[in-house]
Symmetry: D2
């Protein structure tokens, strides 16, 4: 029940502080006798890695994964897999100076409220670095989804009000903001560079689409598929909102518009809907249509601009946060979103199996 | 792990189909020796009850709660409390006729995909009637929160594009749409009546504010307070989106705007923030500011207008859904939202206790 | 996590006090579309029922089960099944007199230590009546096991030093002590009647054998099959010990004796062992051999003989416990043992399914 | 829910194969701001370490623990603690030769039945080496218990029929069999040496006493304190039986004997019992008396004597197991028993806290 475990049957437990020795994850509930590719996990980690482009932090971190258990001759044993990624490029000196000062938008104050102690170095456990563990585990979950031909495609939909208007799949990993619209990407990059130059940051929207998800996943009434997605994605640092299908737009719609009409696709021999306002889920269970999810990402809290704040003792300070921070989190959150969605799906694939004798 | 249990330490398990004998809930993890008011639970059920006004369904259902266990001399024993509400006004005849036809926007098809069997009468377990159990349990959770002086205020913020512009607390339970703005309420009622007349339905937005929530609730990194709220609220039928604080608006903000500045409130002897874009939660843990949540509610799927659909065998049909349905779900979802938030908070109050020796 | 839930995927939550309105259980994680026989559940309840013979309590309780949910047209829906058994023959008057006096061997003092409140009437939640819920749920679990041809046979092995020496299957339900040895049964009955006459009680040993359990059940390293059996059976009131296979006798054995030799049974095309000291489980996983379990049952705590004790305030009392109590618990614990074993196996059958794609 | 996690609020997840890179554990639910002694953990690992005496295996393994997370400036952060112990002295060559042959008493066959794949080297995950993780976690749990003055004393009670007759506390860690009776210890050592010389092994009984456990721990009806102890101890490799208090002896007792009489100890201002047949637990909840537990340990399965068995294909073989194995497991199981008991108690201390406001 403690908070560092996620999943019911496909279950991960993550650990690690930003400036500690390592971050990592134990994956339990793994199907045995599965070919296991450490390269595919490394590839996902590389997509999340800092220093990959001009619009992300300039920190360099190799984020190499080591497998401690659960794999034998490149196959899963069905026993827990422990993946460890050492922290190698941490510079904790800057943090010592500001250790008692609350950084606006950061979790220092709330961690102290809850735990009475904080590893102030780089945000400790509250750092975005924690998501390395999620991406590593997700990299494995994706290998399971691949066998079911399920694909997750996440991308930057909007940054600081600039929205993608086109969707070109190949474009996504082709530009540093991971936007499927080349022109929008260019404008987004400019906006981010401007924010960086100003010592500021910008927010955005990330969208994810799940293709080929079979009908029948989801476990009402509390583990509905969208509930589990919502929990999963809202647990990513900096996420402020979650939508499925029509989302908040549904508030302005009528039933006669919103209800997706069923029809039978003769060639595919499959029940389908003409529209997809539901976003691929009805009554908490997938209906076989693409699952469409959007999340809101707040602007990075760590900014160079001077900000008014206080310290532990209530004394006022003006703080300028040094260090190398992402001026926009969207590009690096994209693989984290995919990882969390993959973990939810891998879990629900197992949960569904229990219903068939 | 099955899907009908919610909560970690304060835990509910719900049961019941819409047209079965009863709906109910077992609450486990209850603090012993607590005064227990069945009246307060009944009051919450009455707020959710069908037939309470002209803008809700005309079905009449008394929804009387019976306590089977866990309470002795009006005090909790610390043992599981089972609450049962009999279904008394169910009319299953209409459903027999359309049992093989998929109602657009409904869960019939997905339930069949998952379970291979469905109680088609009134939606069975997928019916909104299932939320009776949540409200009953929430009515008890609220009694715990009251001892901590925590208050949850939910209301209709927007219906079909008409938004509340004023907030008058007493107005909320004063009008049938539960909107804190009297004028907006009037316009909303008209809109709902029009939709009803047209055999259609409308969506909306419900907002909830938690007042007096202490700092320090939330269990990173996967049971963050907002993650648990998101899971809880996204599991309510018809909810398509979830926001905390700035929500989707954060996507268009800069870090220098969004970061809430800390200051020390000398009289209250409390760390506070000048703005509340965070919505009361930082790093997954409450910071003592009001918690602000919004959810998107889709327009009711059951509408009288003719709709194109298919049956089990893929044959086309035009369906007109009879029965007495809510033309807008917001008014009756308000108490369900409060119940789910109360359940999350009651749970996290217990989870926090484990950190203190 | 609270204590009234048992099972991982096939999960029950029980509720109810001895002298409250009802006892019952919610079963979640149930396979859908399964024929459901309420008669088979009633039959199990009748085996546990008080007043069935001269060697059990003379209390009469019809223990009729009512199904509130989860079943439609005699088939399971895959949604939670709530079973309720009303308490009808409770006489609480005697208990009011002794409500502050600790009955030796009973849980009054420890319940007060933990909860600070107690439903003293008939032991409240600590009463053996709580096991009605287990037997009802087990009665359903057995219907699942039957489809896998798994059979559980429990019986009284020993009472007050008198041990069964023969095993005649049909004899078990043929005598009131449920002993497979007719002669031993007769001696046991005499011993129990003597104890009853003396206002005393006797202990015993119950043995259970699981036949046709497939190899491959059990989830190392903490949910080994024997661990789950041990937890399940040690949670039954009055059980003081648990053994699997050789059990405590293994402490005096040599490895060369205890190791069961593997051989290949050509006709059955099956790996088997020549002996079964393992008791059907190796490394926490079933090996296909019969599972052999024994539990120690202490003598009933409620006895008529005068006993020295104290009250809440530490004052001395001599207590004579009136009421109608079982002079030996073994006969009525037999169906409870079967129920708990059935619940563990139904759960592990589901847990194993996750390993197959 | 997968099988490598133990505990509800104080929760461990273990990982690692015998001949893999490492074994280890993630501890979640840890109280923050607690002084953390890695030396005390190392001390427990040293007690379990192979090669510590003549009666244990001659394998040498340093078993040095590394902390990867959750600790900052020697204090717990309240975040997950990952402890890793590298495997350094593994020799897998012998195992390659017998990889398809089922070793009697071992889990090779059942692991293949369940997983369809096995790390045959040294037993893989089924090896006793897995308990390193338990002892590491238990070493931390003990540090919590110490603050509550709770002490766990485990020792060898009996080996191959030779029973301890005296209890001298200091003697336990003074002899290689960890027996509190010096004379019995001497006889036990002789017996073990004889078994070793014969290429055989012997079983025994380990007893554990918990002193100063407060009344009120245990969570009926399924997480009774004895149920959790039983599950915990039965999950240790080679354990075949579990008893609490009177255990199997209760089967031959009368209620008038077995009921522990309550009295009030004026000096201690405490309710106590004159005898302790209950073994410190009534109704699943600790009563403040010493908790007394016994487990049966089977003779080591790995013996040098020739044994008849078969291989994967059903062909017959005679096997002689080489390698360096413990001729009796009791001495090295003692710290594992203490660790598991410590984990259960640390968990129940947290579980109880939820009952107090």
């Amino acid at each position: 029940m403690p908070g560092n475990t996620f999943g019911k049957l496909f279950r991960i437990t993550t650990f690690g502080e930003s400036h500690g020795k390592a971050v990592g994850v134990v994956i339990d509930g793994v199907k045995p006798n599965l070919k296991f590719s450490v390269d595919e996990i490394q590839r996902e980690l590389d997509r999340r890695r800092p220093g990959q482009s001009n619009v992300t932090t300039s920190r360099q971190e190799s984020d190499e994964v080591e497998i401690l258990s659960g794999v034998f001759n490149s196959r899963t044993l069905g026993t827990p897999i422990c993946l460890v990624i050492r922290n190698t490029n941490q510079d904790s000196r800057d943090y010592a100076k500001i250790k008692n000062i609350f950084r606006p938008g950061h979790a220092g104050y709330t961690y102290l409220s809850r735990y009475g102690i904080e590893d102030y170095r780089g945000g400790g456990r509250a750092s975005g670095r924690e998501t390395v563990s999620r991406v590593a585990a997700g990299g494995f979950a994706k290998q399971i989804l691949k066998k079911h031909k399920i694909q997750i495609i996440a991308y930057t939909k909007e940054i600081g009000g600039i929205a993608a208007k086109q969707f070109e799949y190949k474009e996504i990993e082709n530009n540093p903001v991971r936007c499927p619209d080349r022109n929008a990407a260019r404008a987004m990059i400019k906006l981010i560079e401007k924010a960086k130059h100003d010592g500021d940051s910008v927010g955005g929207i990330v969208e994810a689409i799940v293709v080929n998800c079979p009908a029948g996943l989801g476990d009402p009434v509390f583990n509905k598929l969208e509930s589990d997605f919502a929990r999963a994605l809202m647990s990513i640092p900096a996420v402020k909102g979650f939508e499925i299908g029509s989302g908040f737009a549904s508030a302005q719609m009528k039933g006669s518009e919103h209800n997706d009409a069923f029809y039978y696709h003769k060639k595919k021999k499959k029940v389908q809907t003409r529209t997809n306002y539901a976003g691929g889920i009805l009554g908490g269970i997938s209906n076989g249509a693409p699952i469409v999810i959007r999340i809101a990402v707040k602007p990075t809290s760590s900014i160079a601009k001077p900000q008014a704040t206080i310290d532990l003792h209530g004394h006022r300070h003006t703080i300028r946060i040094k260090g190398r921070h992402d001026p926009c989190l969207c590009p690096r959150i994209v693989p984290v979103v995919e990882a969390m969605i993959a973990l939810v799906l891998a879990d629900h694939l197992l949960l569904r199996k229990n219903l068939r004798s």
